[in-house]
């Protein structure tokens, strides 16, 4: 079970990946949509955690592109912008499993990822 973290802020996304690995989650990271698509072409991932606001390819657009190619993948959105309420509505419309407001609570993210994994594991 592999997780791909996508956020234009390298310092943030790399640290998040490292912290997840302490919690037993295998996470990779990229800093743009383009890189993410390249990575997906070579490696298989189950869950993508992505920032909604990114330069060039935004989170929601990227999610659509990935879903089209890899329909089995699940998504968690992050944002540092707007109210939770707006964000929740936006994420649900885009078809995300969950949403998080920055600064991200690592325990919440870990718990959510594990929850999705167990559901997928159950299905498999």
């Amino acid at each position: 079970m592999r997780v791909l973290l996508i956020d234009d802020e390298k310092e943030l996304v790399s640290t998040l990946a490292e912290r997840l690995s302490f919690r037993g989650i295998d996470a990779d990271w990229t800093t743009s949509g383009k890189e993410a698509l390249e990575k997906l072409a070579t490696t298989s991932y189950d869950i993508a955690v992505l920032d909604i606001k990114m330069p060039r390819i935004g989170g929601i657009e990227l999610k659509r592109m990935i879903s089209r190619q890899y329909p089995h993948m699940k998504f968690i959105f992050m944002t540092g912008h707007g109210s939770e309420e707006d964000f929740k509505i936006g994420s649900e419309e885009a078809g995300a499993e969950y949403y998080l407001v920055k600064p991200v609570d690592i325990e919440e993210l870990t718990q959510k990822l594990k929850q999705i994994m167990s559901q997928q594991g159950g299905l498999q």
Partner: protein, 579 residues
């Protein structure tokens, strides 16, 4: 003074504290003055001009009418007086021609003729017959004048020369005014005789005294030396000298104005009576004649004054009313401009806050993750684990990040809504969020803030950002009022089933009683010196009304102020209002 103050319209001493040349289009006082003077001028100048012209024209007309009337009167009296003399002269002439000297001189004839004359005409005192030598040959009358020689007397010479003589008035033996008429009859043989009659003037005094004249009018006769021949009412008795000069000779009736005794203006009409030594005079006092005209003038003058007062009053009232309307409209216009400016400013501040919050959020997130990683390292790596001090430090960093995160979230939430959006709102949460902004300031100024929300308070349907601004403004005012600290209490409780009541009470300086009614008026401020625009409470009241609520204020100087906001639980839905 206070009465004048009450009369003074609002715009009179108005100075907009936030005046700037683009916003202030009108000088209301000048507008009022211009309107009043122009309108009053256009209305009153023709009226007053008309009154003045009318006054002079009618005065001249009445004066000339008086002269004309006097002239007519003189002519009429002259005709009567002339007729009187003409009649008597004619009758004497007839007698002289009809009877021969001998027939007249016959005993009893003169007596009979005197009798007949008195019966037919009246006023004859005696009759005398004088021969060409000047001796009175025959006489009928009360005196013994037979044989008197008149040959050297002036009247006899004149009658011999002119054929007729009319004397001045004299008192005579009986001390009654008399006059003499004598006619001469020339005979074919060159000799002549004279018939002479004495006439009592009472008879022709009757002609003059029977006249009724306006304006202390007086009609009398003088001789050419100015001796009164008939008594006058105001100018002396008969045979006295008239105080006025004898008017110069004129062949026709003449009227002129002059000054009489005591400088009183009078009108004199006169006529020299032909073939007599008499001048007929009519004197009237001008003031008396103008009396009726003056009374009418006074009535008109009173009417004019009342008209001027009424017109001025109406002009002032209309001008005040209209300028006041413009003033109110202008106030509303400026208030709207300020409100738009305020909204724009708030929107700009919102955008700025959102930008700042977002920009700060990213580094915060990184600090959070880095600190989180350090903590993870302490927890998961054995070589770092167990260092309580380091762990404590990391926890402190994380706690600060969390706090900073709360602030940025609050800023974002506050700045986000610019359009009206109705949602269900928990007032307690909202008030805590708003008062969060004052936490630090309250601490520095030792203001104690408390929020009491009744447990049965329902969620209300309203616009979050408007509510935030309402309570932000009220809390801001309260903090401003409490310079030396105090207690700010916000109490929320349901008011019936459909309303919620929120009271914001402070222990500040309070509001003076006379200002209490005006606090929600735009531009009313007691903080102008400290930079207040006087718009805060006016906008607050506007927002409350927009949300379908109402706001009231109670205050006591030195004790504190309580604002009460009552909001509906559910907003009334209007057509086209998408929520």
């Amino acid at each position: 003074m206070s009465f004048i103050k009450k009369l003074k319209p609002d715009f009179w001493d108005y100075h907009d504290i936030a005046a700037d040349p683009h916003k202030r289009l009108f000088n209301f006082r000048r507008m009022w003055e211009l309107t009043v003077f122009l309108t009053a001028g256009v209305a009153l100048i023709p009226l007053i001009t008309l009154a003045v012209v009318d006054y002079h024209v009618t005065q001249r007309a009445v004066a000339s009418e008086n002269l004309l009337r006097t002239a007519r009167l003189v002519s009429n009296i002259r005709r009567s007086v002339s007729y009187f003399f003409e009649e008597r002269r004619a009758v004497l002439k007839f007698l002289a021609h009809h009877y021969t000297f001998a027939a007249l001189n016959k005993r009893g004839t003169l007596e009979r003729l005197l009798n007949d004359l008195n019966e037919s005409f009246g006023g004859f005192t005696d009759l005398g017959l004088i021969d060409s030598y000047g001796y009175q040959k025959g006489y009928a009358g009360p005196f013994d004048l037979l044989g008197v020689d008149y040959s050297l007397q002036d009247w006899y010479r004149e009658v011999c020369k002119k054929g007729i003589y009319i004397s001045d008035v004299f008192l005579g033996f009986r001390h009654a005014p008399h006059m003499v008429i004598a006619v001469k009859r020339s005979l074919p043989n060159g000799s002549f005789y004279v018939l002479r009659a004495t006439i009592d003037t009472m008879k022709f005094q009757g002609i003059l005294s029977g006249l009724e004249m306006a304006g202390k009018g007086d009609a009398f006769i003088i001789n050419r030396q100015g001796i009164l021949q008939t008594p006058s009412i105001y100018h002396g008795r008969a045979l006295q000298k008239l105080s006025l000069p004898v008017p110069e000779y004129a062949p026709k009736t003449r009227v002129f104005e002059t000054k009489g005794a005591n400088e009183v203006p009078i009108i004199i009409g006169y006529r020299y009576i032909d073939n007599t030594p008499f001048i007929l005079m009519v004197i009237k006092q001008k003031q008396g004649l103008m009396k009726a005209w003056r009374e009418t003038r006074i009535e008109l003058l009173i009417f004019l004054c009342i008209s001027i007062l009424v017109i001025s009053g109406v002009v002032i009232w209309v001008a005040t009313y209209l300028v006041n309307k413009i003033f109110i409209a202008d106030q509303k216009r400026i208030a709207t401009l300020h409100q738009v400016e305020y909204s724009n400013k708030m929107a700009s501040i919102g955008r700025l806050a959102a930008g700042v919050a977002h920009e700060v959020n990213n580094p915060l997130a990184i600090i959070n993750e880095k600190a989180g990683l350090i903590k993870d390292l302490f927890v998961f790596k054995k070589e770092y684990a167990g260092d309580e001090k380091l762990l404590g430090l990391v926890d402190a960093i994380l706690a600060s990040v969390k706090r900073a995160g709360t602030i940025t979230k609050r800023l974002l939430s506050f700045s986000r809504h610019s359009e009206v959006r109705i949602q269900h709102i928990d007032l307690k949460e909202l008030l805590q969020e708003v008062l969060g902004f004052f936490e630090k300031e309250a601490e520095y100024r030792s203001i104690d803030i408390s929020i009491d929300v009744a447990p049965d308070t329902p969620l209300i349907e309203s616009d979050r950002s408007k509510l935030q601004e309402i309570f932000l403004n009220l809390a801001n005012n309260a903090c401003f009022a409490m310079e030396n600290g105090g207690h700010l209490n916000i109490r929320v409780a349901p008011e019936g089933l459909k309303k919620v009541k929120i009271t914001v009470s402070d222990e500040g300086c309070g509001i003076a009683k006379q200002d209490l009614g005006r606090v929600f008026e735009p531009f009313f401020s007691t903080k102008t010196k400290q930079g207040g625009t006087g718009l805060g409470l006016s906008l607050t009241a506007n927002f409350v009304r927009e949300l379908g609520g109402e706001i009231t204020v109670e205050s006591e100087l030195g004790k504190g102020t309580t604002f009460t906001v009552i909001l509906p639980v559910a907003i009334e839905r209007k057509e086209g209002n998408n929520t």
